[in-house]
């Protein structure tokens, strides 16, 4: 990390690239202060976090149940899995025109794009996790009289939880990557918007500020999700 900053400083000091296109670390620090003082940075962070968390939560809230159904019912799986794979292959960027058409400009289209980016991978991972539960668990559950909703709560869900957490971790990263593109149509705030705006405004220093903040939040979010993997009831899934 330190080395990168040093290399960056040296490169900009030597003016290998024009300074207005390749800002120095000092420019970026100044940009940082400017953005913090104006309060824009905090607003942008909140706006982006709000969109990513909402889109991601909806994706997880809908994706895990759908994955459970697909995992359990082979017929649904055969019918819907190609569809899920189809949509998963599409870049969320391709949805931008429709996002504008259906949701206009602002929070909703960005949330929609983030949802589109994270929903399908979550469905897929959950489906795979359910399908790979060893049948022995279900036989044991039957021996001990677990059925219906108890079976779901006490066997299926805990059995897939480690894989689902891993999937959420990966997808959260994906959602966060999409935020820059999604906020191209965000209207007036958000870290992704700040990056587009800095680019349009020929302010490379602010662009780098946006990059740094997005990267840093990505690290923090992952750290938080890693904590989930430390729950005692899922540790088994990661120690084989």
């Amino acid at each position: 990390m330190f080395l990168i900053v040093v290399l960056w400083g040296v490169l900009s000091a030597l003016t290998v690239f024009p300074s207005s296109l390749f800002p120095s670390p000092l420019d970026v620090v100044r940009g940082f202060l400017e953005e913090i003082q104006s309060g824009r940075l905090l607003d942008d962070i909140i706006a982006s976090l709000f969109r990513v968390c909402t889109g991601f939560a909806i994706a997880a809230g809908a994706g895990v149940p759908l994955g459970l159904v697909l995992g359990h019912r082979a017929r649904f799986r055969q019918a819907l899995l190609p569809l899920v794979n189809f949509f998963r292959s599409l870049s969320p960027l391709a949805w931008i025109p429709f996002a504008i058409l259906w949701f206009g400009i602002g929070d909703l289209p960005a949330i929609f794009l983030i949802f589109m980016a994270s929903f399908f991978p979550i469905v897929l991972a959950t489906t795979a996790a359910v399908a790979s539960i060893p049948t022995i668990y279900f036989r044991v559950a039957e021996d001990y009289g677990l059925g219906g909703s108890q079976l779901l709560r006490e066997v299926t869900l805990p059995a897939i939880l480690p894989q689902v957490i891993t999937a959420l971790r990966v997808t959260a990263g994906l959602a966060w990557v999409v935020v820059v593109a999604a906020e191209m149509i965000a209207g007036r705030d958000g870290l992704g918007f700040a990056i587009w705006d800095a680019r349009n405004g020929l302010r490379m220093d602010l662009l780098v500020v946006g990059m740094i903040v997005i990267g840093a939040i990505g690290v923090v979010v992952d750290r938080l999700l890693v904590r989930l993997m430390l729950l005692p009831s899922v540790r088994w899934g990661y120690e084989r």
Binding site: P134, I136, Y137, R139, V140, D143, Y144, G145, V155, P158, A159, L161, P232, S233, V234, R235, W236, G237, E239, R240
Partner: protein, 256 residues
């Protein structure tokens, strides 16, 4: 058919059962009755259909022809890990006590199970933190806890090393002493069968049918070098054609 009243209460009963998978015939016309409290071991060459037999007994699988009757509740102990990895040792054993309504009574029985398997201090551990032998003990405790009638054991000790296996046999014998159950043990370990069972059933190659039945009356626990155990092992090996030192005719005479 002439069936006496006592026969009806036999917990497990196979009547002319056959089972085929597509064109593959696995069991052919097998009849078997297990009495209440009896420990039956089923041995045979690998791939002969022992597990299929167990699946039929547990109700997990249905016969192609013939009938399976089961009276009472059944629990199975598996050769691979059948413990729920997301539950602690205590929670796993509590699975076996789910039907005990009274809280205090459940706690008492739980404590008793821990006494039996001697795993105090591991109650809050997760299965993946235990050794293979410890896991098998927990699994036995889970199956034995509460009021099950029938226990089906599918090569429960096959994953363990020899010394641990010896210890586990002793353990199982001791546990059954305090909590008698009707047991069917499927194993490829003839010594294990001879040490534990009241009756040993030797199966033929596929399609499997009963090749030989052997009764042992000496009380458990039995040592692997005890004369009766050694004798039983030799007779089974001879029947399977694996014991060369013994005179064939002599062994036949012994069986008959």
């Amino acid at each position: 058919m002439n069936v006496s009243r006592e026969d009806l209460t036999e917990p497990l009963r196979l009547a002319s059962v056959s089972r085929s998978f597509d064109s593959l015939e696995v069991l052919r016309d097998m009849s078997l009755e297990v009495r209440r409290g009896e420990f039956v071991a089923i041995v045979g060459p690998s791939g002969c259909g022992k597990t299929t037999l167990l699946n039929l007994l547990s109700g997990f699988d249905r016969p192609t022809s013939g009938t399976v009757t089961r009276t009472g509740s059944t629990r199975m102990v598996y050769q691979q890990d059948g413990l729920f990895p997301w539950l602690t040792v205590r929670e796993n054993i509590e699975m076996g006590l789910r039907h005990v309504q009274d809280n205090a009574e459940r706690m008492r029985q739980l404590a008793e199970m821990f006494d039996l398997i001697n795993l105090h201090g591991f109650a809050e551990h997760y299965p993946h933190q235990l050794s293979g032998g410890m896991r098998q003990r927990v699994e036995l405790a889970r199956a034995l806890a509460g009021e099950t009638d029938i226990m089906l054991l599918d090569e429960p000790f096959s994953a363990l090393d020899y010394l641990t296996r010896l210890r586990m046999r002793e353990e199982l014998a001791r546990l059954l002493e305090t909590r008698p159950r009707t047991v069917v043990l499927v194993t490829h370990d003839i010594e294990e069968a001879a040490q534990l069972a009241d009756r040993i059933i030797v199966l033929t190659e596929r399609p499997a049918c009963i090749r030989m039945e052997l009764r042992l009356t000496v009380p458990r626990p039995r040592s692997p070098v005890q004369a009766e155990v050694v004798d039983a092992v030799q007779r089974i090996l001879a029947e399977l054609g694996l014991e060369n030192e013994t005179d064939d005719r002599l062994v036949r005479a012994n069986i008959n």
